[in-house]
Subunit: 225 residues, 2 copies
Amino acid sequence: MKLYDGGVSPNPFTVRLFIAERGGLSLEVEAVDLLNLANRSEPYLSVNPRGEVPALRLDDGTVLTEITAICEYLDEVAATGPSLVGQTAEQRAATRMWTRRVDLEAAQRFIDWWRGSEDADAFYRGHRVTQSAGREANRRIAEQGFGRLDQDLAGRSFFFGERPGLADILLFAFMFTMKDAIPWLNPPDRTNVAGWFTRMSERPSVSAAQQPVRLIHASAGGSGA
Amino acid sequence: MKLYDGGVSPNPFTVRLFIAERGGLSLEVEAVDLLNLANRSEPYLSVNPRGEVPALRLDDGTVLTEITAICEYLDEVAATGPSLVGQTAEQRAATRMWTRRVDLEAAQRFIDWWRGSEDADAFYRGHRVTQSAGREANRRIAEQGFGRLDQDLAGRSFFFGERPGLADILLFAFMFTMKDAIPWLNPPDRTNVAGWFTRMSERPSVSAAQQPVRLIHASAGGSGA
């Protein structure tokens, strides 16, 4: 397996963090220079014509994209360590429910808010449809989403279960990598989200996942990379 | 298991169609009157405080929401018939990749476009944050998404594999239930999407899933309900 990795930006960092938390994985890594838009030209477009990073090339040549699909695949094929998706159908269902919630209610919304900014226009240089007209609406929806998630996190360490699962990893990776670009992302008065964010920040996986890597051997248990 | 069902609207219809295609399921059904916003008041809010329909109450009392989580759970616990998610880790990964693609690139975008309309404001009566400012941006992103999906469907019957999977079901259910409200949804010049839509329309499951039900016994093989 080979991971095409884009470093500490929302989608690639989600997969890095998942790998570091999951353990039991060994895969080759190729860095794609997102800052210089290497993902929008050859040879990368032959790997993923959509130009998205990360992508995972399987041993049979299939190229997987979409971070939740990549994470679930890695979870299934990891050699050792407990699943981060779930051991039972009920646990897996809860993980998938929370993952889609944080994705649609919060993560995709604040990313879209950022995509409508002048920073994003400058970054993408015409490689993406911008939607500046919708950015304040996205902010309102994201704030509403975070409000709900703040209630959901009351009395809980993580969205589901006693350790971070895919939902925690996805939302944290998106917030962590975008916190400097989005000033309203993590206000102290959303106390449960803020506490959860601090808790996630202290995971050894978060520093592990920020290191550049060429080859990942993540042992089970969360120290990673 | 008990399904709280909302009839022929995007999210509930996705789950209905999945059940009809999947087969091997038996579950009690309670209709929630979406048109009169019964999902936004008690007793339904005690079932799902977010007010979303559908929801699936498991035998242990847990309430599952989020259509992809519900569908994957039903797929796992169905007594007979082939999985619609996949038999191998690679097939499941492909299903999840395509499902998230159609969801983020197309389905959520045209739904958001509709949510910005006066029709939607009238329908929701203040129960939802509207985002009319962003609707044309959502249309542009959806059109771009459909353009890509049209290329992806070239030479294929379905997004992945030889029969409709979760990705096909989700996108079709959203398009089918919104086709009268969204005039630009399925133009004939997106020939591959249009052909796929026709192919999906002809599935026996589509008529089965439009019938009101109180109790679902779906036998394996797609005739359903």
